[in-house]
């Protein structure tokens, strides 16, 4: 059964709008009484992925689904793609612009924060765009809001 199925638009270079999708994902999980630890893992990964689209892409979309014992996030953008994924995954490596850095981004920690948070990550990228799929397994403990 699909318990949640939501979609969001992500606007490039709009630092005031950035984080709206992640905030809604967090609010939804809170209303469903997931554990604080689980909500933090999902929110941090969602925010990093959303910010990546804001600062690096020409715009994109996010999808958020909960299906039985797994939560899925999918981020799709319309380019220009990641030329070297291995390099992008290296902690500390960043190609963020000066404006992004002034907004507090560009630490080069985005993917390492995502990898620390998820149970599975798939990434596909070419100049037409990037697809990032994240999976979080949901355990009994994750459903306990007191944790």
């Amino acid at each position: 059964m699909i318990a949640v199925d939501k979609r969001y638009d992500i606007i490039p270079n709009d630092f005031n709008f950035a984080g709206r999708a992640s905030s809604d994902i967090k609010r939804t999980l809170k209303s469903m009484h997931f554990s604080r630890e689980f909500i933090k893992r999902v929110s941090v990964a969602a925010y990093e992925a959303e910010i990546n689209i804001v600062i690096h892409s020409r715009g994109g979309k996010a999808a958020f689904k909960i299906c039985e014992d797994a939560l899925y996030l999918e981020f799709v953008d319309i380019g220009p793609g990641i030329p070297d994924i291995q390099l992008a995954l290296t902690p500390g490596y960043s190609t963020a612009s000066e404006e992004s850095r002034l907004n507090g981004f560009g630490a080069g920690m985005g993917f390492s924060n995502i990898l620390k948070s998820v149970d599975k990550m798939d990434i596909l990228s070419d100049p037409n765009g990037t697809v990032l799929k994240l999976k979080f397994n949901i355990t009994e403990a994750d459903r306990d809001e007191n944790r």
Binding site: K26, S43, V44, E48, A107
Partner: protein, 110 residues
Amino acid sequence: MKIASILQGDYRLVTHAGSEQADYLGVYAGDLLSVVMKSAQPQNVLVTVMANMNAVAVASLIDLSAIIFCEGCRATPEMVSRADREGIALLETSYKAVDVIVDFTRRGLL
């Protein structure tokens, strides 16, 4: 510890009256938001010069209690209203981050 206990000397609460009644547990200082998300703990007070909406968004995502904008950095009205909605206290000070930490240590606020 209450946010109110911080409000002596050069600290100004800019969110609504009453927001200083929130509790906090410990302090984290940093400006790069990915590093803040990695290392700050729920109910921490964030000390930063990153006075923009993204800092408020991160504080909300990881359940921080308050943000102290140091070195004279100011919160915009939009940041204040978002922080009010999210239950995050915003404070401003002319202190540098290191001076805030020294001040907290001296006053037993850590």
